[in-house]
Every structure is written in C-alpha cells, then in structure tokens.
C-alpha cells in the first residue's frame, strides 16, 4: 500500500507537468468514465425499447390462454410454453434449493475447513459452467439411459445450474446472522440442528429469498440446457416424464423460422419472458432493501 503511494511521490510526471494540464486530464478522464457508464446501459435501453415496440402488438390475453396455431395463421398463443416454463422452474427449484441451501449452511457453519474451501471454490467454478455443457451432460445422464426426453431431465438440468448461486448466497446471508443469536438459542437448550434451521436460517431468510429469486430469474430464461432434455412440445402437456414446452425454447424455434407470423409470436414471447425475468430481478432487490437496509450497498 505504502509502496504505491511512495512511487507516486517519486514519479516524475505529476511535478513535471503543469497543474492546469493535470487537472484538465483528470476532468476529461472522469467525463470519459461517465460516458462509459452511460454507453453500458445503451444496449439495455435499445433491447427493451425494441422488444416493447415489436412485441406489444402481438401480445393479448389470447397469447396466455390459447395454443400455438399452425404456420400461416396469425394469432394463437403460447399457453403450453408458459405452463411448461413454470413447471420446469418448479422442478428446478425442487432440485436446486434443498441442495443449495444445505450446502450454503455447511459452508457458513464449517467455513474454515479445507473441504469447505474446496466446495466454495468448486461452486464458483460450477457457476461459470457453460449452459450447453450442462445440456449435453443432462442428456447423457438422464435422457440417453431412459430413452426419451422429459420435463424431469430439463428441470434437473436447470436445477443443477441454480445450485452454485443459491449455495453462495445462503452462505453469505447465514454469515451475517450475529453469533450472539446462535449462542442465545443454544443457551436456552435448543439443539444445534434446531438452532440452525429455526433461528439462524429464519433470520437470514430475507437474503436467501433474494438469492433464490436471482437464481430462478437466471434459469427461467435458460435455453441451451433444455434443447436436448425438455426438448419442447407443440401440444399441451404437464406430464413430467414427457417432453415439455418451454418459453425460451419456443422462442428460439420461432425466431429462427422463416415465417412472419411466428416472428411476431417470438417477439410477444420474448416480451413475456423478459417481463417475468425483470419482475423477479426487481422483486429480489426490494426484498434485500427492506430486509437489510444499506447492508448490501
């Protein structure tokens, strides 16, 4: 720390150049960082604006309640895909949440051990795993041996993608629970497991809900892991052992098709998908706000 400061003191350039010039450089660079920050959100605005312009027209109540129409017929909806996505999210949560929260509790309570460090590191590595690799793994592991695509395989694939996110948030949130609270519970005669589950976990619940919502928002839009697992379905199906439609999958198929009617449907689908994801994201922000005040600033 002192080394860098000392180096600044000895550096020739601040003294050699005039103060006015140095100040001018500083102003220009500060302005440039402001420009960079503004440019960074231009794509977001562009995408959202374009989506709303293109998608709002095709969006109606019909879109949520009716089935896809064959090529050549305008209108129709994606009821099957919307229901399919919700089912897939449900399966994913059933797979990802218990494992993620359990592993997070372990990391928070057994933090310093070598195994905990390894698990933490691998959770971060798993977080960066390409979604397509998760897709072919799930196919190899859950689809190929069984012999057909299924909602369960798709849900499990995206559920596995939730694990690292939920693990790390749970760990962080459980760590913020004051030790005194834990000690108070133990002193009252609570066994350790009840202290952890009923006192510590419940206190940290607000933050954990946030992490869960972020994870759900992330996997709700995942497409690549579903390509070879849930596979998609043109018909209405809620059977867990059968292929199932999903909003992102349907969107992909429609987007790369050559038909204008399908493109319109794709835009409407994208609008619904992004609304779902953004609402969950914004919601998660407010859970954190109200629970933790400025703690996460």
């Amino acid at each position: 720390m002192s080394a860098t400061v000392a180096r600044m003191q000895d550096a020739p350039h601040p003294r050699a150049r005039g103060l006015a010039r140095r100040r001018a450089t500083s102003y220009v660079m500060v302005a440039l960082t402001c420009v960079a920050a503004s440019l960074a959100i231009v794509p977001l605005v562009a995408i959202l604006g374009y989506l709303i312009r293109q998608g709002a027209g095709a969006l109606s109540l019909d879109f949520f309640t009716s089935m896809p129409r064959p090529v050549g017929e305008a209108g129709g909806g994606m009821a099957n895909a919307i229901v399919g996505t919700l089912i897939l999210i449900g399966i994913a949560s059933a797979v990802g949440l218990p494992v993620g929260i359990g592993a997070g509790l372990y990391l928070a309570e057994r933090g310093g051990t070598r195994l905990a460090n390894l698990v933490r590191f691998l959770a971060d590595v798993l977080n960066g795993l390409p979604s397509i690799v998760m897709g072919i793994f799930a196919w190899e592991f859950l689809v190929r041996p069984i012999g057909h695509f299924s909602a369960l395989a798709g849900g499990a694939a995206i559920g596995a993608m939730m694990i690292p996110l939920v693990t790390r948030t749970t760990e962080e949130m459980v760590r913020t629970v004051p030790q005194s609270l834990r000690e108070a519970a133990l002193a009252l005669g609570f066994p350790r497991w009840r202290t952890s589950l009923q006192i510590v976990l419940r206190t940290a619940m607000g933050g954990i809900v946030t992490g869960v919502l972020v994870a759900v928002a992330r996997v709700a839009g995942e497409t690549a892991p579903l390509l070879f697992t849930a596979f998609g379905n043109q018909f209405f199906s809620t059977k867990l052992t059968q292929p199932i439609a999903a909003l992102p999958l349907q969107l992909f198929v429609y987007a790369i098709s050559p038909y204008d009617e399908w493109h319109a449907q794709a835009w409407a689908g994208a609008l619904v998908l992004i609304a779902l994801v953004l609402v969950i994201s914004v919601m998660s922000r407010f859970v954190v706000r109200s629970k933790h005040g400025r703690a996460n600033d």
């Binding site: 960074a40 374009y50 690799v133 390509l227």
Partner: protein
C-alpha cells in the same frame, strides 16, 4: 417475509433485539425439557451429515459432468487424436471430424467481446465506485446488472432482427468501404450480416455486466486510506485512480475480465442465432463461423451416427476443460483482492 423491521445484519447501527427475531423464539414450541442428551446428539449428527451431504453434491456434480462428458467424447478423441483440435474438416457424412474452426471461432468471438466490453465495463465501474454522485450510483449499477438478467435467447432474437440488419446495411459497408478497412484481410468479403463480428458484438454486451460487477466490487474493496493518501499528496482525482486505486485492485480486475472471458467462451443461444453456423476458417470477421457451443447446439439433435455424437461430446469436453481452467484462474485472482460475489 415482507416485515421491514428485520435488520438481521451486523451493520445495524442500533443492536437492539429486533421484534421479528424474538418471534421465532417465542413462536416456535419451547425447547423440549426432557429430551435425552443422546437424542439431541443423534439429531445433531443427522443434521451435520445432511448438510455435509448437500455440500458434497457440488464436487460430485462437477466430477460427474467431467466424467460423463469425457467418456462420451472419448471415442472421437481416441479416433482423431490431436488432429481433432487442429483439423478443419468437419464432415459428418464421411465421418471426419476436426474442431479447429469452432475452437478458433470461439477464441476470436471472445476476444472481440473482451476488447469492446473491457474498457466500457472498467470505465463504468470506476465511475460508479469513485466519481458518481450517490443518487446515480445505485440505479445505474442496477441497470448494468440487469443486462446480465436478460436471457440469452432474447439477446439472440434482438440480434437477428435488429443487429444483423444494422450490420449488413450500415456498419459493415462503413467499415469496409468508407474506412477502407477492406484492404486488410479482417474486414473483407460480402456483408451478409450473420458473422463472427455479429457474434463478438452480442457477446460484448452480454459479458459487460459481469466484468463491470466484479471490477466495481474490487474497486470498492480498495481501502479509503489509499485514496486519501494519494489525494493528500496532491494527486488529481484521475491520478488517484491510476496511481493508487487501480494498482491495488489490479489482480481483481484482471480476474473480472477473465470471468467475462469464461462467460463469452460458453455462451450458446445468442451466438448460435447470429454467427451463421458454417464450418469455415476465415480471417475475415464478416464471414460466418462457428463456436464450440453453437456447434453443439446446432448439430446435437441431428447427429445420427455414433461418431458424430461422440465428436460433439468431445467438443463439449474441450469447452468444459477450457472454461474450468479460465474460471479457476479468475476466481483465484478475484479472491486475492478480497472480492467475493460474482
């Protein structure tokens, strides 16, 4: 869940007992007085074993992915050997598979993405950590984070209908003819739209929030005293950043960029939709190409022969290896500078 009165963190200014905290204690049944010590010990053991089991799921899952994909790809790797990585013939009919174009496409698109995204993300992160007025800080950071929440397939849709026409009609002719970059081999050839350049551009938007978030976090982890010392020595605000803040946060920022690289390497849907999907090794960024991820996404469901399937699995295995190494390096660098969340 919505009780606003639960300051459950250590940073609470007034450490009074929060009412909602007392609730679970009072509300849940009183600790049973006459449970045997043995019962408690057993229950605690079960609890510990359970969370240990859940924690072990993470390494087991990773190992399983590694082994399953590796075994599935092994026949192709054995048959084609090192040539699998260097050959550019990908011919499912003849049963010849070389992944060089896809590997090259992956690397090139990722480099384009990083070259564009890094300055913007870093500049934005510096602005947010050091210069932005406090009322701008939170909303702006939130908006940049939202970029990461947009699903890949939506980026792809936008890319197909907005970015590709824009590239075809305006950007590509401008680069090639107006700026005369067509003289270099990199900007040559007809402007179709679907191209390596389009994929790189989409990727740059997609990795930006990741680089920005990590950079911002490590910049904010730089101690205040570091900045104050520089300012006290007469440095301008910018000199404080370059002289005192960035050197301190350097390895964390590099870690953030590498993390972005990891995202770019593995990104699938948006790239598949705009890259054109052609097995071709071309120096021109205007030409269509393939990345490893888009190759798998595009051909996996059509693969009929065992060797084709195995070759795609082998591509997945190579991608897995590369991203594992990249992510491990990135995490290590970020941890060194005290950042923790991604």
């Amino acid at each position: 869940m919505q009780t606003p009165t639960l300051p459950a963190t250590v940073t609470t200014p007034e450490p009074r007992t929060p009412p909602a905290l007392a609730a679970p204690l009072a509300g849940s049944p009183a600790p049973p007085a006459r449970v045997s010590i043995e019962g408690t010990v057993v229950a605690d053991r079960v609890y510990r074993a359970a969370i240990l089991g859940f924690a072990l799921c993470v390494p087991i899952l990773l190992l399983l992915i590694f082994v399953e994909v590796g075994i599935a790809g092994w026949p192709a790797l054995r048959q084609f050997g090192f040539g699998f990585l260097t050959s550019s013939t990908w011919d499912p009919v003849a049963g010849q598979f070389g992944a060089a174009p896809a590997i090259a496409g992956t690397v090139i698109t990722s480099i384009i993405a990083l070259v564009i995204a890094t300055p913007l993300a870093l500049g934005g992160a510096i602005f947010l950590s050091d210069f932005a007025p406090s009322w701008v800080r939170q909303p702006l950071a939130f908006l940049i984070d939202l970029l990461a929440a947009v699903p890949s397939v939506v980026y792809g849709l936008w890319g197909v209908f907005f970015l590709l026409p824009l590239l075809r009609e305006d950007v590509m002719p401008f680069l090639r003819d107006t700026l005369h970059l067509g003289a270099t081999p990199f900007f040559r050839g007809p402007a179709y739209g679907p191209s390596v350049l389009a994929a790189g551009l989409i990727l740059s938007i997609m990795v930006l929030p990741y680089i920005a978030a990590v950079s911002r976090e490590v910049l904010m982890a730089v101690p205040r005293s570091q900045r104050e010392a520089a300012l006290a020595l007469g440095a301008t605000r910018w000199e404080t950043i370059t002289g005192a803040v960035i050197p301190f946060a350097r390895s964390g920022i590099i870690g953030g960029v590498i993390l972005g690289l990891g995202r770019a390497l593995g990104e699938t849907m948006a790239v598949t939709m705009v890259i054109g999907n052609r097995h071709e090794l071309s120096a021109s960024l205007f030409a269509p190409g393939y990345t490893m991820a888009s190759l798998i996404a595009n051909e996996f469901s059509e693969a009929t022969s065992d060797v084709h399937l195995s070759a795609l699995m082998a591509v997945g295995f190579v991608l897995l290896l590369i991203t594992l190494v990249v992510n491990a390096v990135a995490r290590w660098l970020v941890w060194q500078t005290g950042g923790s969340r991604s």
